[in-house]
């Protein structure tokens, strides 16, 4: 079974530029999560989708971050414009989503903003 795929693996941009990350969840998984993990901290949930609807985006900085999950499958997370403090690993995860089932994580995208 293929795992959660994320791209790119690494990205370096200058502040005020824009960037987009892509995630393809495990086939059949209804729930998709985007997490931000700053060095030395645990992952922080940015947004949670159930199929193509948003369940929780309370910690998403909506003035600069946006995410979509068209057709309830893959998803993109965008930052525009980026700030230095956005430097982090962005993790995508998916789960079957109909109860307490484990979430499977991708390898993450390491973003460096200079």
């Amino acid at each position: 079974e293929a795992g959660v795929a994320q791209s790119p693996r690494y990205k370096i941009i200058e502040k005020r530029q824009s960037v987009a990350f892509w995630c393809n969840p495990i086939s059949g998984h209804a729930t998709l999560y985007w997490y931000q993990q700053i060095l030395g901290q645990g992952p922080k949930l940015l947004i949670q989708f159930q199929n193509n609807g948003v369940v929780d985006d309370s910690q998403l900085p909506k003035d600069r971050f946006s995410a979509e999950r068209l057709k309830g499958v893959d998803s993109t997370l965008k930052i525009q414009p980026a700030k230095l403090e956005d430097s982090a690993v962005y993790l995508c995860a998916s789960s079957f989503g109909t109860g307490n089932t484990e979430a499977f994580f991708g390898q993450g995208t390491r973003l460096t903003v200079v």
Binding site: A93, G99, E102, A103, F104, F105, G108
Partner: protein
Amino acid sequence: SQELEQSPQSLIVQEGKNLTINCTSSKTLYGLYWYKQKYGEGLIFLMMLQKGGEEKSHEKITAKLDEKKQQSSLHITASQPSHAGIYLCGADQGSNYKLTFGKGTLLTVNP
């Protein structure tokens, strides 16, 4: 305040020693997940606990959830260098299966 507290923040042990990592919640845990992470990589699922008093084991790793469902421990027996990494507890605290994570415990195992 941090909803999930992990302790210790870091741990250095000699190969062959036993160790325990704790995860404490300020809220009732409806699901508790243990993950392992290598630096800069994704999280690898270890175990999930749901019922008060539940205990699960996989190879040399055992996880328990207390009866009150507010604290979990992860115990590694006879540690090996391959156990080194960051251990994260994640929890569903009753909000749409939203997974909240602790800050992690960095484990170093010296040969």
